[in-house]
Symmetry: C2
Subunit: 463 residues, 2 copies
């Protein structure tokens, strides 16, 4: 039997109640975004005959097709009544975009409770309220009221996102699109009147399109249910979680944001560890770790880090971070050093870090990695694209050498204008995660290492 | 009398010894970059009659003009002899681009020592060897062997950069150019055979174009000289320093990178504190702090932080970081809250953080800041540009309200594609530093606060 959430991600028909063409209204952006959906779309609004080329219906009951999913973008006060019509139409899944519920004070909370009770009576499953809903790269379904002119959508990939905050879901998507990193699905469940964090994890654990999950949470709906879902998920796929509202000030902000209790941070940390999830330190680290976890899934990873660079300063920064993250950087075996010395000009540094200097060529990266990487557990490769002796061809050689060595690798290429951006995207397409600073690259590798350890990898067991 | 370094940044005539047109040679990129220099340029290379439209001279002594600065891009082995010709020509300032000296082992070290002695005998001041040299937005002087096709150059601004690593200098410039942040001057002194970190600080302290300095260092040439120069500088202008090679692994990497001793990190930290400099934690933080310090120079700054957002999740993240950085977030005075409540729809949150929700408009940011900011010491403003109710006009209103309140502010706008990037650049042009994550924005404000404290600002003295 299909999971309860399957119908939310794979409906054949979608109705948008509150569709409109007024700028700045959620119903406009959603209808525009539904143009990318492979199924049938039915806008509902009594004030319009047609909208964006669709025939528009005066009510949900007037729609002549069976509806698998209704997206409701009406003012909060009109939602309760609409629920009756939705039920009458035989719809069992709704995404409630509308805000003005639990997050908006006591009256909103009371309204949300009434809707929860009625939805349960009707057998209607609900994502929301105060939610963006779902984005699925598999069929183009996109219930986000955020225009594509404003926020780019990532291409298809293996990473799925679960976010309690709509804003965070959106900026994660934008950041991943910018970096050329693909995603599978996104869900923002908002006030989680029904569908919650644990349901989403549970669904993604069995979703073949999802290879890893990045999660933003301020609080959990049900601690035990979440822990079970997280444990089941992390036993199969990597899971990285950013818990916000860690400290007193953050917890106070959570109370006014999602009207939930942030809880004791220490308990969350213990739960993440117990579940086998990796904790992200913040927004950047969530993105960084997610890239590493979604692109490289290694059963085990030791602590011996190799650094290859064409800029010495960045290798120093990476080495500092490596130490902070518990990596070791064993010196180069003398036989390898001898071979590198034969292959390279005398001024290249053949210890660890290997410094190809500003004269290092594309092929020198490949030589360095082929000779040295088999003696280490992971590599951190820094390419300063400003050097005239390297070009985008380096990315292919680096990716090939790392794939052949079957070792995890993180690249650092400064994310700049034009040229460097192209190189970043090229590497990501080849399955190599790329980061805009040496510290961030090392921290992402550390997250990957932690994920393999959490999955029962013994420290002694080297690749 | 002009400072020793003045002639390096403001020569009237420049000779490039080792000019060429071979791709991948430093001499090619430098000659191309010198096309932006407002003074006269004389390429020297016996194998060419002309180069890039310039007449090319067979030797430095054959150049028919007085030369203020010679940039030498010859192989290391040919530098010693060239020094005699440079002296014969009456040149007293050289930038030694060439590598293969102290950083390349014992022979290189011996060669560097011989050149140092001879330069001193001749009265020639040297930047380098193994250096990129100087970049000056005032007159377009650019001795960096990094092509502009590869690495963008920032526009003119008030921030100057001192970097022991050429690679770090280049990626800092690229990152600042990408963000639309201007700079004044850059110097990379490489092996600092002569001109060093302290000389550069000393010069920038009196350079009217420089408003703040961001510095990357692995080691100091002379501890006492550096401390004096840093103290003098920081008494007048903000100084942020990233010291790499902090930990054992990083220190080992320093030894092979710049052939210097990284030294005891604790001693550096004490020196920075004593000098009144702010320490950056790494690459990203150096950029972030530098933006804040160069754009906003406030005599004093308290700890009361106001957060305004249109995405609650990002405010939670910012609040967590605020606590880590020692800020307080006092609740909104009730009179202000009442006025905000009158001005806003009921579902806006009028505590601190102020949450304008996904429906917040441009003007709502201005209202929030005008009413609330006078009661706080600094503001952190988050604008999620994906919301259809805000557009780039918000940046003007935010900047105006913050300038009028005369309080420091940091904005967080996700640095994404197109639309959001434009908004970032617009804010930076208005003198407001912008950051791509809430944590980074708060950490930049914390660096600014530390800088004001280091300059004798008492904690009790609020703005």
């Amino acid at each position: 039997m299909a999971h309860d959430l399957h119908g939310f991600f794979y409906p054949r028909t979608v109705a948008l109640i509150g569709a409109t063409d007024k700028r700045d209204k959620p119903g406009t952006a959603i209808l525009e975004n539904l143009a990318h959906f492979s199924g049938a779309v039915y806008p509902v609004n009594p004030k319009h005959q047609t909208l964006l080329g669709h025939r528009c219906y005066p009510s949900i009951t007037a729609v002549p097709d069976k509806i698998d999913l209704a997206i409701i973008a009406l003012p909060a006060a009109r939602v309760e009544q609409e629920l009756d019509a939705v039920h009458q139409k035989g719809i069992t899944r709704i995404i409630l975009i509308s805000s003005g519920f639990a997050e908006a004070g006591e009256d909103g909370m009371a309204l949300q409770k009434r809707i929860a009770i009625r939805a349960r009576q009707y057998g209607i499953r609900v994502i929301g309220p105060n939610a963006l809903g779902v984005y699925n790269t598999d069929n183009g379904l996109d219930s986000f009221f955020v225009s594509r002119e404003r926020v780019s959508r990532p291409t298809p990939g293996r990473l799925s996102i679960i976010s309690q905050s709509g804003a965070i879901a959106v900026i994660l998507m934008e950041a991943l699109a910018r970096d050329g990193m693909g995603i599978a699905k996104v869900v923002n469940y908002g006030n989680r009147l029904d569908i919650d964090d644990a349901d989403a994890l549970d669904y993604f654990a069995n979703d073949p399109a999802t290879g890893a999950v990045a999660m933003y949470m301020e609080s959990v709906a049900d601690g035990r249910k979440f822990l079970n879902a997280a444990r089941t998920f992390a036993a199969q796929k990597p899971l990285v979680i950013w818990k916000a509202g860690k400290h007193e000030l953050g917890a106070a902000a959570v109370a006014s944001h999602t009207a939930t209790l942030a809880g004791t941070y220490g308990l969350y940390q213990a739960a993440f560890r117990q579940a086998g999830a990796v904790e992200a330190y913040g927004f950047d680290h969530l993105i960084d770790a997610a890239k590493a976890l979604a692109l490289m899934d290694y059963p085990c990873m030791g602590d011996r880090l190799l650094i290859v660079t064409n800029g010495g300063g960045m290798a120093v920064a990476a080495s500092d971070q490596a130490q902070r993250d518990g990596f070791t950087m064993p010196t180069m075996p003398s036989a390898v050093r001898e071979r590198l010395h034969q292959a390279f000009p005398p001024y290249f540094v053949t210890t660890n870090p290997i410094d190809l200097t500003g004269s290092g060529k594309n092929e020198d990266y490949e030589t360095a990695l082929r000779e040295a990487l088999p003696h280490y557990d992971a590599a951190m490769v820094i390419v300063l694209m400003g050097a005239t002796t390297v070009n985008e061809e380096a990315t292919t050689l680096i990716a090939r050498a790392c794939h052949d060595a079957k070792k995890p690798v993180a690249c650092c290429i400064l994310q700049g204008l034009g040229y460097t951006q192209d190189a970043m995207h090229a590497l990501l397409k080849l399955g190599i995660p790329v980061y805009p600073s040496p510290e961030r690259a090392v921290r992402a590798l550390a997250a990957l290492r932690k994920a393999t350890q959490r999955r029962g990898c013994d420290k002694q067991t080297k690749l």
